[in-house]
Symmetry: C2
Subunit: 325 residues, 2 copies
């Protein structure tokens, strides 16, 4: 079957609200530095009221990857739920303006569009307080042969398992993908997310997932190890392709007996780590859907991730590959 697009993303559709804060602010609102916490609307309002002036831009982990993938020149589509409010309009506008085929209409009622309050400290680290809103209404009925089409690969976000119908809708997505010869990639999202859904992720990885994109902590949480060497050894028990990022230690690609170690690129100034992993994934999958060798996929991923940590904002800008050599 011919592939309709190269990459389809299924994920939480979120608008980021970014502000610089100091460490004291994190303490005052009881936020764990570097974590992503799900909050309800009241709590989101309470934290927002204490934040300084902010900048708003479209976000969401896998949504960032899809936007970045589009800006690298890949063809892509997206399934995620926003409401037809102003933030939802911003999210869908930004996706469509990149040529991403947005498959779901904004909901006319229900919870407002999701937003993530992203608190950036001086070290460039991000601490996120996320209100999922309209995302929680993503349902099994949204995942159909029509909305999915026949992409070369589908990238599913681990956070989707947090949604009420998440386990069922992801199972449905994997089933449709398998039927159409679509490769299934899973982003593990964050290590707490892995802890929440360890059994489900393990099951999916053993039954349908082809590619796992994750950082070292997330993989460790998945396989229950606490050292890099143990993690690598544990991965010998998997047939999947793992693209594992390791921050300043670079990344490693594991596929069966194959191990490709990709060093990190030195960075002058870390402005904002938001989206570094998402950008790596965009670059890695861009190489993969274009049938490049895994070592090249890892190199492009590293190039994209390195660029994004040096800017404020999570998404890859257009034309980035022009400066890739």
């Amino acid at each position: 079957m011919p592939h309709s697009v190269q990459l389809l993303g299924i994920s939480n559709a979120i608008v980021d609200i970014l502000a610089h804060v100091d460490e004291d602010f994190l303490n005052a609102v009881g936020a764990v530095p570097g974590s992503m916490t799900l909050v309800d609307m009241d709590r989101a309002r309470e934290i927002y009221a204490q934040m300084g002036p902010a900048t708003e831009m479209s976000g969401g982990s896998v949504a960032n990857t899809i936007a970045g993938f589009a800006n690298l020149g890949g063809s892509s589509a997206y399934i995620g739920r926003v409401k037809a409010d102003q933030l939802g309009g911003i999210f869908n506008h930004d996706m469509r303006s990149l040529g991403v085929d947005v498959r779901l209409d904004a909901a006319s009622d229900g919870a407002p569009t999701a937003r993530s309050l992203i608190l950036i400290t001086e070290d460039g680290q991000r601490t996120m307080q996320t209100y999922l809103g309209a995302c929680t209404e993503l349902s099994v009925a949204d995942i159909t042969p029509q909305t999915m089409g026949t992409p070369r690969a589908v990238l599913i976000e681990g956070y989707v398992w947090d949604l009420p119908e998440g386990p069922d809708l992801t199972a449905r997505a994997i089933e449709i993908a398998k039927r159409n010869g679509t490769a299934v990639a899973l982003s593990l999202s964050d290590s707490f997310c892995v802890e929440r859904h360890q059994d489900s992720f393990e099951h999916a990885i053993r039954n349908g997932v082809d590619i796992v994109v994750a950082d070292e902590d997330e993989v460790a949480a998945l396989v229950g190890t606490d050292s890099y060497d143990d993690t690598l050894e544990a991965l010998e028990g998997y047939d999947n392709l793992f693209a594992m990022t390791r921050s300043a230690q670079g990344s490693v690609i594991v596929h069966g007996d194959e191990r490709i170690v990709q060093p990190a690129t030195p960075v002058n100034e870390v402005v904002d780590t938001t989206g570094a992993g998402d950008a790596y994934t965009a670059g890695f999958l861009y190489g993969w859907v274009n049938d490049m060798p895994l070592s090249e996929c890892a190199k492009i991923g590293t190039f994209c991730g390195t660029t994004v940590v040096q800017q404020l904002g999570a998404r890859i800008e257009p034309g980035l590959l022009d400066s890739y050599s």
Copy 2:
């Protein structure tokens, strides 16, 4: 009468939607480079649909000045109309988070919060397409001794004269200010705005306005001259204090016989000229309300304007004066 705050702003409350575009984009949408055009909602939607991914942040010329003034450490208040929608929430949040006393509640119905589509070309120039929305509902009834209080100075935006009740509400604001010993500052906004309201501005400047803040083109449009020397000569016929910016030529302060010439500071890279004049005004008025000599007011204004052209975004960040010497 003691002054409640140092500076009150009365202006259009606008959220900026910023995107980088190339010159061709301006031609394609028929926009005059560097201009501000008022558009209706349909036209705003049409242009937005053609724009790439954008960043949203609170804007508005005098609103930027008030926010910057607050970040310099001044006490301030604000009168402007937003709707109680998501963009309105963003605007009021950002003002309040700086300690600005927002005097009007968001409207529960009526037109949506204003937004300005800001198209930034590679030369750092901005071209704005502004939908005024809720701003057009600012009324005479909003200007009362209670909402105005007794500030040391009130800064009124020229663009307010574009609103249906603009001429009446500004007359009322000037009347209340005069009664309370509040100095009246007028921002001329842009030279097209001056052409639209030349008689009204002239009348206000002769009857109540103490300080005029403007760039050279705006002053020239006001006094009907076409050279710098002619403009300076024409200003001899005014008693007002003029703070006139001249881009790379710096600025000049004119007050009666007094002329203070303030050179510009060389800039390494112009990122975005949005808000340079607004930031100058914030710095100038910060000096003025703190009874600094006019030469010092001009220096602080220049420092603020120079900083803002080197960043993406119109508003002065907190703590800027820490690096002023």
